[in-house]
Amino acid sequence: MNSATTHRPVRPLYWSVRRELWEHRSLYMAPLIVAAVTLIGVLISVLTSMSKSLAKVAALDPVQQMSQLSAPYSALALMVLITSVLVGCFYCLDALHGERRDRSILFWKSLPVSDTTTVLAKAGIPMMVLPLIAFVIITMMQLVTVFVSTLVVLTHGISVTTLWSKLPFMQMPVGLFYFLVVTALWYAPVYAWLLFISAWAKRGTFVWAVVPPLALIAFVATIGGGSAVTSVIKSRLIGAAEQGFSISSRGEMLPDPVKFLSNPQVWMGLLIAAGLLFATIRLRRRREPL
């Protein structure tokens, strides 16, 4: 009996997450590649037209200056973010289907890792690991852009003051982090739905994931009450920024955690996500190779 307690400590959740990253290299490769390509575009525009545009920017009012100057940084961030959401969706759709397809579920189940740990590790990939990866990649790329911009400005003999004073150095990473958290929470029910389908469907996971919502929209539309359901689904899919930010009177997007957290739709979504994950854990226990 005592021997059981003297054995090595183990970290099933940590290693379950690591193994997902081993299997799905696209989780970090895809955002990296998109970031690299976008960065090249941004750098080319910086190298060719930075000095000219900086002169124009100097003539604008301060808010416009800031939005003009931070535009490439936002573009970088948005591209990486969209990529990581897409990668997360495709990952979820395969996460519990692939292991049944290649029969490796029998290997995973032969080890002392619970279905709860397995499903939570997989859910943690799009909800925590991918946002973290995106944050690191975006921040690094933005630093490279700032560095190159500064070099360009300096070599043209222009003062760096406009660039450095107008770039929101503190707000950018904080705002980005907030946006990533908002996105993860807002998309939680989407990811959970996809995971559920990947555990449930025997084949055609994509069709099973997409057709029921579409059918629901079509059904509600035919009985005449279409717009409510459609707008709920639409805002769930593309409305993350709208939920978490407010537009100021000067046209700036400002983080608004109070608005976000007091929105019942956010909590409803999290509740649905929790329910779907619970169902997925129960399903995974019954699952055998296909």
Binding site: R8, W15, R18, W22, R103, S104, F107, K109, S110, P112
Partner: protein
């Protein structure tokens, strides 16, 4: 506790799929330190019974493995139970080093040095992916992982299926020499019964979801006899009530259960039959001619 708790205790274990009964009320008691051969034709319910024992499928009836309910406690049970399923199930994308890292990271009773030791005897490279290994090497890798786990029960379902004869021999040799000891229990489901007959302590024959024979190999030798006789003694041999007969090269070979070997010896040569001959006899349960008829 471990001295009194049977490794597997089942009463009325039943598993029903939509239309057919895969396992039909099995009673089973496997004590610690046994090597049990589970033998049956395809569709006999072997894999389903093992799936129940391993917590992979729900079931009806009572079932305790090492005192635990496998269906609700699979993750805890897997600290003491290992299994290798009937086909290669190691993920093909995984590298050998990753497999070692992962099992070490999640299994409290995995001894990495031991696994590395087993691998050192093979040609498997640490940097190879499972997809790059031959079928025999994948089995060697899986066996190396499993043998380095200090488990109480090891379940193997057709572990050598598709392996060439060299790997088959090596597989069972390492299992017996490097792994098995008195505190461990091994259950092997297989078709190739004669290949493992010499290492088994018990045999269980299943057919149609039921156990048709369950005995230790020692009992087996004192209960089953094979008698081969020539022409004129055939009728006399039949009078003793054989469970099976077959004819080869002008001789008739009868299989007896619970007969008196001394009486049989008066008619011809008496031997202990092979497990597979008894298996065929018990499963068909009627005298049929198997090998070349006269």
């Amino acid at each position: 506790m471990s001295l009194t708790t049977p490794v597997v205790a089942a009463r009325g274990l039943t598993k029903t799929f939509k239309k057919h009964i895969a396992v039909n009320g099995i009673d089973l008691n496997i004590e610690s330190g046994r090597i049990v051969g589970l033998v049956g034709p395809n569709g006999a319910g072997k894999t389903t019974a093992l799936s129940s024992i391993l917590g992979l499928t729900p079931y009806e009836g009572e079932l305790k493995v090492l005192g635990r309910d496998p269906w609700t406690e699979r993750d805890v049970l897997m600290r003491d139970v290992c299994f290798i399923a009937d086909v290669a199930v190691l993920p093909r994308w995984m590298r050998v080093s990753q497999a070692l890292d992962y099992v070490e990271g999640v299994h409290p009773r995995f001894n990495r040095a031991q696994a590395e030791g087993f691998l050192a005897k093979t040609t498997i490279k640490r940097s190879s992916k499972v997809a790059e290994l031959s079928k025999g090497m994948v089995t060697q890798l899986h066996l190396a992982l499993v043998m380095a786990i200090d488990a109480k029960l090891l379940v193997l379902d057709e572990p050598t299926l598709g392996l060439d004869i060299l790997f088959q021999k090596q597989f069972y040799e390492s299992l017996i020499h490097d792994y098995y000891d008195k505190d461990r229990t091994i259950i092997v489901a297989t078709h190739h019964i004669d290949e493992i007959a010499h290492v088994l302590t018990d045999v269980i024959f299943v057919d149609g979801g039921k156990i048709v024979l369950s005995c230790s190999t020692d009992d087996f030798e004192s209960h089953f006899f094979e008698l081969s006789v020539h022409g004129e003694d055939i009728a006399a041999a039949r009078a003793f009530g054989p469970i099976h007969e077959r004819h080869t090269f002008g001789r008739s070979v009868f299989l007896f259960r619970n007969a008196d070997p001394e009486q049989l010896a008066t008619l011809g040569e008496v031997r202990t039959p092979s497990l597979s001959d008894v298996f065929v006899a018990v499963i068909t349960n009627q005298p049929i001619e198997v090998k070349g008829t006269a």
